[in-house]
Every structure is written in C-alpha cells, then in structure tokens.
C-alpha cells in the first residue's frame, strides 16, 4: 500500500499495517532479568533525533525518507517531547472550540490547511542481542497522525495519539545503518474527536522503542479474575501466541502465587489458548485500603528446557456490578472520592516522566482519593500498574472528545456532531475502544471503561458501549454524554453520569428517577480559589444509597514555564500567554495542585472531606 495524504481526512483509514493491540505485559529473558526490571528484549530509541519542521504539508521535504536524502533544513529535536515546546509552531490552549476557530471554516472530516508537519529521522543499529529475531517498532504516543518509513520503505500509518502503535519491521530492518523516518501531522480527521480541553501539541511525545520477539512469544494475555461473595475467587487465562521460529516446540507454564498453576505444550500451531476457569477457595480482596495483588507469571520453555521468555504481572481479585440501583464493589456499596487527571508537566506539557507519575500517585494518595479518571485519553501505560499497586481505582477513558462539534458558545447545537450517527466514523472510534481494552484489560485497578468525554451521543457511541460490554463482563461502562439523549440512556452507560450538577440536581435525580446509580464524572471545578462547598457533596453519600461519588475537576493546573521578558523571572504561563488565538486563557488551570505540583490551598479540604469519608 502506498502512503496517501488523503488518509488524513478519510475516516475509513486510521491504521495501516499497525499491529493489533495487545496486553501491556513485558517479556524478559528470565526471572532474574525481570527482578532487575530491565528487559533485554527492548531497545529504546529515545534521545536526539534529526528533525525538519514545516508549517504546512506543501513545505515538507517529500523525499526525506529516501536513502541519500540531504537537506540544510535538518535540525535536532528531543524525543519524546512536543515540538511546540521545543520551538516549532504555536503553543495553543483552547477548550471546546476547535483550534482553527476563526481561521478556517471546516466541517468533519476536513483537515485544516494550517497543518504543521514534523519529519523525524533516527539512525540506529540493531543491538547484537536482537539480530535475527522478529522486531517490533513501538510508539507509545504520537500526536496526531504519522506515516512511518524504514530504510526508504513505507512501514505504516497510525492515529490515536494516546495509544501505543506497533509495526512489525522484521523484513525491513538491517543489523546496521537503519534509517527510521516518521512524518507526523499535527492535524487529521482525528483532530475532530481529540478536542479535549487542553493545550494542543504535536509530535512524538511518549517513548519509542524496538523490541524483539523470541522463538515463541505471548503476544497477548488476559489473566481474568473474579471475587465471589464468600471470598472465593475464580481465575482463567486467555493467550494469543506467535512464533519467531516455525519449528518451535516447547512448553508454557503459568502460575498465580500459590493459588493456581498449570502448563501447556506448545508448537507453532498453538496461536490461541484458553484455560479452564479455576475456582480458588479463598482469595484476598483487592480494595483501595488493602490493594492485595498476587504475583502472576508465565514462563515459556523450549524443548531443551531453556527459558525462552518470562512474563511477570500483578493480579488482584475484585468484583464490580450494579445491583438495586447501587454500584457494588466487592459486594459493598462503592464510594468514589476521585479526581480527574491530565498528564502534565510545566516543562514538558503532556510529555511526562515516570518521576512525575510517581509524584502524582503520592499526591493523589495524600489527597485521600481512592479513584482517578484518566481524562480523556489513555495515559502512559506505566500509570495503570502504579494505580494497581497504590490501590487507586481507575476509570479508563477512551481517547475521544468532540466537544466543539455539538456545543458552541455554551449552547447545545449538534448539527454536525461527530462521531454521532455517522457510519463512516464507527470503525475508527471502535478501534480506540479495542486498543484501550486490549492494552489494559489485566489491570485490576480499572473498574470503569469510559467511552471518552463530551462527544454527544449516537450510534457510534452505542457501538462503543456495546463493544466494551461484549468483551468484558467484569467491569462497568461509563459515559456522560448520553445525558443529552435521554432516549438512549437505557442502552448506554451503566451509571447516570453528569458533570457539575449542584447537589440539588443530584438529589432530584435520585429521588425522581433513580433508575441508575448516580456518578459525577466531573464536579468541584477547582479553578483558582475554589473548592467551596465540597462537603455538601459528601453529605449525599449519607442521604442516598444510589450516589456513587465523583471525580473532582481536576488534579493539576495546565501551565507551562515561560520567562517574563521584563524581569527575566520564570513564571507559569496559561492559555493566551503564547499570544495564540483563539484561546480559553486561564481556564487551563483547575488543579488541586499547581503545575509544579505544589498543593493549592483547597487541597486540605479534599484531604479532610475524602479522608473522613474513606479512611
């Protein structure tokens, strides 16, 4: 297939040669290597890359991926990182309006002419330990559409900025002198459904790496558990396998702590496998106050008995369901004291480090929260394991928001909403659900799949809801936007989700309707000097069994370091400080912590209200 710029505006094309999504397990050479925590199957490509930036597609270097390409325009850029923060193109914060507001008149799926192109070039040699093996190239996050080339050949195309994209490059990669070229577009039709309330960036902003696949590899696993009312548990394992060596013969062993173990014989004909459902007489529950996790492992042996790969994972047992108008967690009514979290750093924007994430976990615990909503995209994949360990329940959101397509200047006006009922968008948005689910399905901390945020409601969202329901009977589905289409409420979302409802509106729902448990997916807008009245929401827990709780908006201010030209002093700049138009200005700063992660004054209120309720 030849790459085509028409894909950018064609809803039917959103992945070309991109591998199917799979679980986020990491494979190691053996148990010892896993204990050290660095897999030698992996090779990072992060660092300084060659780079050409063009304001429009016409200005890009069309031959940059061809061998022998030379240009004086080539500069350097740090990967991962947004290109705007590194001096290429406009930094812009805007909420619901599309970023081209007032500059170009467009309707979905049109793509603006103002569409900066980032062309990345990375030379690499294959590490000796990877030579001769199947090689996968993986991007953890690229905003918002990319064409990938290796050694002059087209590799593939992907969108979905916040989801890993993998390409198999076994046939194209050489041992030495590889030239990886990535052409990243700031805008595509996906921009219509990536209209989250945030700074609008582009580029390769999460890690990039290669990994190799040994002679036999677990491509995908689902270690599925359930907790029964009598504290017994069930466990089953589903595997998808592939083989670097078609003549492979060997064995796979799996073990869940001291609870379950088993094995199966393998040859290249075994590409999928499903275990029986094991019943375990007693398991410790996974609970925010006691986030008990069991060590799970898979070991693949070859026929000589040598370890081919070793996969560790941490698995817990919980049970979530809706019963009698309440959300029940481990057979008790759940109480969600949550916070929405954007990924943020004042120096890197949404390109954050593991240290940033560890600090977020600590602060979220310090605020006494028991749940986080990944507004409104999948986070860096490491986040979910951190939440597993910390006992922070996760609402895992699909990467979707099309706010500007149905709400204009605060008025509800869905005349050209996407994805809406448009059949040509259905596969695209469903792919985002598949990626979210397949990547994250093993994380015990995830209790809700969310269809994204503020995208109105229609047949596409119905299909997303139905997809999650069809693949996972152990978690609930959340979506707020059906609020605007009450006739669809019976078939979309397991909970009545609203945002910024005053306490009286919550009461009215629970007293007058009450057909579903009530959740505030966003409440207590913590912009500036705010968080007044938090306690009044807390009182709802005592008044109504159907009140599930809510997620404060939000965790961290979105502001970037900038230097005051008059004084040379560094300060935290918000929307509009980059002279970008249009912008929603200071509306980017709604955190319970500031952009530098200092707790804001209202933090002690969250600590006290959530602390008294939960701990």
């Amino acid at each position: 297939m030849n790459p085509d710029l028409g894909w950018l505006s064609d809803p039917a094309v959103f992945r070309v040669n991109r591998r199917d999504a799979h679980s986020d397990h990491v494979h190691y050479r053996d148990e010892k290597e896993a204990e050290r925590g660095r897999s030698s199957f992996f090779h990072s490509l992060d660092g300084q890359w060659d780079f050409i930036w063009s304001a429009t597609p016409e200005e890009r270097e069309k031959d940059f991926h061809r061998p022998g390409f030379r240009s004086r325009r080539i500069g350097k850029i740090q990967v991962p990182g947004h290109v705007e923060i590194q001096g290429h193109g406009q930094v812009q914060y805007i909420n619901t309006m599309y970023p081209w507001e007032g500059r170009e008149m467009l309707r979905p799926p049109m793509v603006p002419h103002d569409n900066p192109v980032s062309q990345y070039i990375r030379r690499f040699d294959l590490p000796a330990r990877m030579a001769g093996q199947r090689i996968i190239l993986r991007f953890d996050g690229v905003e918002c559409a990319m064409y990938v080339y290796l050694n002059g050949q087209f590799v593939g195309y992907a969108e979905d900025s916040f989801t890993p994209s993998e390409f198999e490059i076994t046939d194209l990669v050489r041992e030495r002198g590889n030239r990886l070229c990535v052409e990243v577009y700031k805008r595509s039709k996906a921009s219509w459904i990536e209209d989250q309330d945030f700074f609008r960036f582009s580029g390769i902003f999460r890690p990039v790496y290669l990994y190799s696949i040994p002679s036999c590899h677990v491509d995908d696993m689902w270690a599925k558990t359930d907790l029964m009312r009598d504290e017994s548990g069930t466990f089953s394992l589903r595997l998808r396998l592939s083989y670097g060596d078609p003549s492979f013969r060997g064995r796979l062993e799996y073990r869940l702590g001291d609870l379950v173990s088993g094995s199966l014989d393998l040859d290249a004909s075994v590409t999928s496998w499903q275990s029986e459902v094991f019943a375990i007489p007693f398991v410790g529950q996974y609970h925010y106050r006691a986030p008990k996790l069991y060590d799970f492992s898979i070991t693949v042996y070859d026929d000589a008995g040598d370890v081919v790969e070793y996969i560790p994972y941490r698995i817990g047992f919980n049970h979530i369901e809706v019963e009698n108008g309440m959300v029940m967690y481990n057979y008790h009514r759940i109480v969600i004291c949550g916070v929405n979290r954007h990924e943020w750093s004042p120096s890197g924007g949404r390109s954050i480090t593991l240290d940033d994430m560890m600090r977020d976990i600590d602060l979220i615990r310090q605020a006494r929260c028991n749940s986080v909503r990944t507004c409104h995209y999948p986070d860096r994949v490491e986040w979910y394991s951190m939440c597993d360990e910390a006992g922070i329940y996760v609402m895992a959101e699909t990467n979707m928001e099309s706010h500007g397509s149905w709400q204009k200047n605060s008025a509800v006006e869905p005349s050209w909403n996407v994805p809406g009922d448009r059949p040509e968008w259905k596969d695209l948005v469903l792919d985002r659900c598949v990626s979210n689910f397949e990547l994250l399905k093993n994380h015990t901390s995830i209790i809700f799949w969310s269809l994204g945020n503020e995208s109105w409601c229609g047949e596409c969202i119905q299909a997303m809801n139905d997809y999650y329901k069809s693949v996972d009977d152990g978690r609930l589905v959340h979506y707020e936007g059906v609020f605007h289409r009450p006739e669809m409420k019976s078939s979309v979302s397991d909970v009545e989700s609203q945002m910024y409802a005053p306490p009286q509106r919550v009461r009215r729902y629970l007293e007058k309707d009450g057909s579903k448990p009530f959740l505030l997916c966003e409440y207590m807008h913590s912009m500036g000097n705010s968080l007044g009245g938090l306690k009044e929401y807390d009182d709802l827990f005592d008044e109504y069994l159907g009140y599930v709780g809510g997620y404060i908006w939000d965790f961290i201010d979105q502001a970037l370091y900038r230097t005051d030209e008059a004084t040379g002093e560094r300060y935290l700049a918000y929307g509009g400080d980059f002279e970008e138009k249009r912008s929603d200005y200071e509306f980017s700063c709604n955190g319970i912590v500031d952009a530098e992660r200092n707790v804001k004054p209202g933090f002690q209120e969250v600590e006290a209200v959530y602390g008294n309720r939960l701990w």
Binding site: P502, H525, M527, N529, S530, G532, E536, L572, D594, V609
Partner: protein, 305 residues
Amino acid sequence: MEIVFGDVSLGVAHDGTHYIFAYDKGGLDSLEKDGREYLYRVPYLSFWRATTDNDRGNGFSKRSAMWMGADLFSDVVSFEATIDGTQLTGHDLVAPSNNALLDSPLRHAGAMSITFRYSTCTEPKAGVEVTYSIAEGQDGVRVDYSYEGVPGLPELPVCGMRFVLPFRIDSYEWDGLSGETYPDRMYGGRSGHFVQEGCPTCPYAMAQDYGMHMETRCLDMMAGDRHLKVSAVDGGTFNFSVLPSSPHELESAWHPVDLPVYRRTYLTIAAAVRGVGGIDSWLSDVGWQYHVDSSMNHRTCFTIS
C-alpha cells in the same frame, strides 16, 4: 494616658505607644511603638476582593462592581470622642473649640474612644462606623467595626477594614484554622497554632484573592524588630488576610509575577467574607448561606497592639 488635642488630629500616648487619629483622613493615621511607625495610611474600608475565577465565571464581579469603587474611596461624615465619660463632638474637638481643652483634666485620662462615621461611595449609600478605644489596663487599641446595611445594594465580596503597613513582614502566626479558609471551605481547616513564613504569595496561576483565614483568635506579625498583634475580643474570633498586594493590584495582574514588588503589607480584618464557590466556574453561584447581604449589618471587633 496622655491625650493631645491637636487642631486636625487627636493624639493618645499610652503604654509606650503613640496613636494619632486624623480628623481630616478619617481614622487612625499613626500607630507608633518604640519609635517605629506601623501604619502607612488610615485604614481603608474593605469592600473588595480581587475577582476570583469563580467570581468572574458566575458574574459576581459584574453584579457587585460598585463595591470596587467603594473599596478605593470612602467618605468620612463625622467623628466624635468620649474621654473619661465626657462626650466631645467633632465641633468640640477642632479649632477653635479645642482652645478650651488646653487646661482640661481630660488631657490625662483613664479611658478614651473615638468614633468615625463613614458613608460608602455607592448609590444608595450605606453607613460604616469605626470606634477606636484605649483604656488603662487594656493592651493596645480596641477597634469596633460596624457596617450598617441599606436595601438596594449588590452583595458584598468582603466587608471590613484594610490596614496598610509600611513594611514587609518576615512571618505571621495565628491561632485559628490551618491553611487558607473561606466560609464555604473551612471543613478541612484544623484548629491550632500555625506559622506562615514570609508574606504569602498568590498560589493561583491567575492572580486573584487568596489567603483568607476564618475564625481566628489571635494573629502576630513579625517584621524585623517590629511586632504587631491582633487579638479577638471577649472570646470571639475574627477573619483576616495578610497579603503583599492590595486587592486592586491583584485585580489588575494576570499572573503573580505581574504584581508590584512587595513593599508594604495589607492586613485585612473582615467582618464578613463571601464564600468562594466551587460547583463550576462559569455559572453556579456560591451557596446562598455564604453570600454577604449588603442590607444587613456586619460587625467585628478586635484589638491591635
């Protein structure tokens, strides 16, 4: 204590502190302890807080904009004093009537008070009365603040007095609630003794009101060898903020970094404070029980020493 019947002011020397009440400026113009001055100007009547994001979002500042002017400008209508039980009108105190006081025994008194009446620069006008009292056996000066409401004015963001201290402070300590508290955000405030090092800078990305402390029993401000104490009276409490900027400086700044260099300290003692709200930042009002009704009376009292 010694009373000085000036032509334009009333001086009081008591317990090592010298006070000058200015008839023309309408209030306490000087508080001098150990040869150091503690006041830059007579206190402002405080009617404004720098618009918070929620105030802007729900339109409060637009509805109540009249109070912003009233905060900057006020009108002294009258004043009178009582010294050892003798009532002296404004007329009695100024020239030439004060000639009669040259040999008065009131120049050495056991107790004095002086009351200033103000009219707010609003339409309609509300009244404010501030009484300063000093007595033998009492520490410092007691201040009784009383706002007398009238119907027809918009709701108040805050209502009290603002003292401008002509120096920077090193720290302050208070007995009351931890952290920053407002009427609708006090649940998380723990009761105790707390220390703030330095004068607190604006913790919000967009400059706006901050730093209120509700239900305080005692406040101590330290500035080099200067020390100023505010205490509650008769087991009551007061609300205060100590900021390096005026509400108008904060109102005009986009970022904390835009604010003027910290030179002087703004101590606000508030009889009433509007809640900050939180339901959203674009529509919802602050809970009704946290509004400050301008047709009601609002009072506070405290001593400064």
